[in-house]
């Protein structure tokens, strides 16, 4: 268990962050906080992809493709972190920003119409109508 935590802490952290994000989406009554929860949820996934790309040979971390790479002592092959997940994360960040922008625009409009950001107040206002 301890070994799992020390060697695979990135994955553990990812699931903790996922949980916090999802809890914020569900439990927070504030719409902006809900959106922040969605962002945290996505960030956890980005962290996961970055962790997937990491490679290690005999305890030596692999280099990134843009700096001089460490070579594997046994076979003298270059040991590189996989660049593909990094590209994926980059794309997913862009998508996430677009979604956050649209979400915030919608929240601005809801605030202008109802004068509140809280889901429970919104429910009351709409029940009265």
């Amino acid at each position: 268990m301890i070994e799992l935590l020390t060697t695979r802490y990135a994955y553990v952290l990812m699931f903790v962050l996922l949980g916090i994000g999802l809890y914020m989406v569900i439990a927070s009554e504030n719409l902006v906080k809900k959106l922040i929860g969605v962002n945290l949820f996505q960030t956890a996934i980005f962290l996961f992809f970055v962790a997937v790309a990491y490679v290690e040979v005999d305890g030596e971390p692999g280099g990134s493709p843009i700096v001089p790479a460490t070579s594997d002592p046994a076979s003298s092959d270059l040991v590189l972190a996989s660049p593909l997940p990094h590209v994926i994360v980059l794309t997913a960040i862009v998508v996430g920003i677009a979604l956050t922008a649209v979400g915030l625009a919608l929240i601005v409009r809801i605030h202008a119409e109802y004068g509140t950001l809280r889901e429970d107040t919104l429910r009351e206002v709409r029940a009265d109508e």
Partner: protein, 519 residues
């Protein structure tokens, strides 16, 4: 690379690039959006028909028939492919045809404005990309493009309710797409591939820890898409979104967005994972069937108790997609063909029904079931078309709704899944319950002849600035024509069951389904 290979890329790129044109022209001219969209969609439709002739004209297995475009000239498994195979071509035809037809409504019915048409073209481009992509991460990107287009279009509705419905959809939809992305990550860890064709060969050979990863990926991908396809209990975004979206937008969203998501689920289940993998994973088939069956019953039951017609049809979508998902889980060839036919038939029928709802709201001012009283006498054409579509939705022959349900039912009996066979029977009864309620109001309850329940335009008494999203208050020949055309088409397709069966055969054969599967 021959010229036909360019077509899949053009079908995606042209609508997305053209989406910028209405905004740019909008700086100079007021109403160019509709014309630009009409031209683009006409071009896309012609292109998709040409593509269909190419794909269905040849012979061979699914991969040989498909028209494949390698983006940037990088071949798989490294590069991203756009694949128009025997299944995705049919979806492309549905998307292009429906999006073109709906323009007949939006020209007068609204929402107006150039930004609306930019969103429209962006959404269509995203849907076409989602139908063709052969790369699971690229699928995530297109899923989000479709999502962004949908949120923007829903929010273009008049009331503050529309913004709230769009935000709700945005939050739930983004979580759904993100859960799918986790699944993509697990699948990438297990195989090192993102290309669907490469994955298909790889997944079936996995063992040990990698097999566990692939199973976890399967679970995440299924849950992510259960949200996007609106399966009970993850459907809660859908009724609000359909109800509060402008009348011109609901048909597009209801007919295409969930349909293409359900197609994407089929693509992942049967091309990436394959029937064998699902059959060998403990409880996978049972879980899919149960989720679908529960959605059928819950969706129909909720539909029966609704008073707003748009909301009723939205819950009806939950139940019809439940039927499709349950049919995926049966893992027989007949049920899969049935699910795919029902996917297309349901998209077509819902487009027609929501269009009819829009036409009735403009012309008669009726939105709730009770307000539909006496509609058949006052508006015989639209009431007649709607009645035909409703009856087709129940699944009474000859109609496309009947063929889909028939194949699914036969598939359920082949798989000896009496649960699904029973649920199909029950869902038909429940569908009849809400359809009959509406038909009874339209045809047999006399309406108040003095005045229509709400006169149209009451909601827009704010004077002041012109409200560009306000629906026009006249029903045009084009609107009635497109509703009637869809109604006739839905019935005409009722005679083409064998044709669909043959067209989908190459895809179904590639899905590695084992007919001997028993529950």
């Amino acid at each position: 690379m021959s010229n036909i290979d360019l077509l899949p890329a053009l079908l995606v790129v042209v609508p997305i690039l053209m989406a910028t044109v209405p905004i740019l022209l909008g700086l100079k001219f007021d109403r160019t959006g509709w014309s630009v969209t009409l031209l683009t969609m006409a071009g896309v439709f012609v292109g998709s028909v040409y593509l269909a002739m190419e794909v269905y004209g040849g012979s061979g297995d699914n991969r040989e028939l498909a028209v494949i475009h390698e983006l940037g000239g990088f071949s798989q498994p490294m590069g991203i492919e756009l694949v128009a195979d025997t299944l995705s071509t049919m979806i492309i035809l549905l998307v292009a045809g429906t999006a073109l037809g709906l323009l007949a409504y939006t020209r007068v019915g609204g929402p107006r404005g150039n930004t609306f048409y930019s969103g429209y073209l962006l959404l269509v481009g995203g849907l076409l990309g989602l139908s063709m992509t052969g790369d699971i991460f690229n699928m995530f990107v297109f899923l989000e493009i479709v999502g962004l287009g949908t949120y923007a279009l829903i929010a273009s509705g008049d009331g503050p309710e529309a913004a709230h419905a769009a935000l709700k959809y945005l939050i739930i939809g983004t979580v759904g797409a993100s859960i799918y992305l986790i699944g993509v990550g697990f699948l990438f860890m297990a195989t090192g591939h993102l290309n669907m064709h490469a994955l298909a060969g790889e997944v079936s050979t996995l063992e040990g820890a990698n097999l566990q990863l692939a199973r976890a990926a399967f679970a995440f991908i299924f849950i992510g898409f259960a949200i996007k396809v609106a399966q009970w209990p993850l459907h809660s975004w859908q009724p609000d979104a359909y109800q509060h979206a402008p009348d011109g937008v609901t048909p597009l969203i209801a007919a295409l967005v969930s349909t293409v998501s359900a197609y994407a689920l089929a693509r992942l289940l049967f091309t990436v994972f394959g029937g064998d993998f699902i059959a060998q994973t403990p409880y996978a088939s049972e879980v899919i069937v149960t989720v679908g069956a529960v959605s059928v019953v819950a969706g129909s039951t909720l539909a029966v108790i609704q008073t707003d017609v748009k909301r009723m049809l939205a819950y009806s979508s939950v139940s019809q997609f439940g039927l499709i998902v349950a049919a995926y889980g049966l893992l027989t060839e007949t049920a899969l063909v049935g699910a795919l036919i029902h996917l297309i038939g349901h998209g077509l029928m819902k487009a027609g029904l929501f269009l009819a709802v829009g036409v009735i709201a403009i012309g008669y001012g009726a939105r709730t079931v009770n307000e539909y009283a006496g509609l058949a006498q006052q508006r015989p054409y639209v009431a007649g078309s709607m009645a035909v579509l409703l009856i087709a939705l129940v699944g009474i022959p000859p109609s496309i709704g009947f063929i889909g349900k028939w194949y699914i039912a036969v598939g359920a009996i082949e798989a000896q899944s009496w649960l699904v066979a029973g649920v199909i029977f029950l869902s038909t009864m429940l569908t009849l319950a809400y359809v009959a309620r509406l038909l009874e109001k339209m045809y047999f309850t006399p309406g108040s002849t003095l005045e229509s329940p709400h006169s149209p335009g009451v909601a827009a008494t704010d004077g002041g600035e012109p409200v560009i999203t306000r629906p026009g208050n006249r029903v045009t020949i084009g609107m009635l024509g497109i509703v009637a055309f869809i109604a006739v088409f839905a019935v005409a397709l009722g005679f083409t069951g064998e044709v669909f069966f043959d067209l989908f055969q190459p895809f179904v054969e590639s899905a590695a389904l084992d007919l001997e599967v028993s529950p």
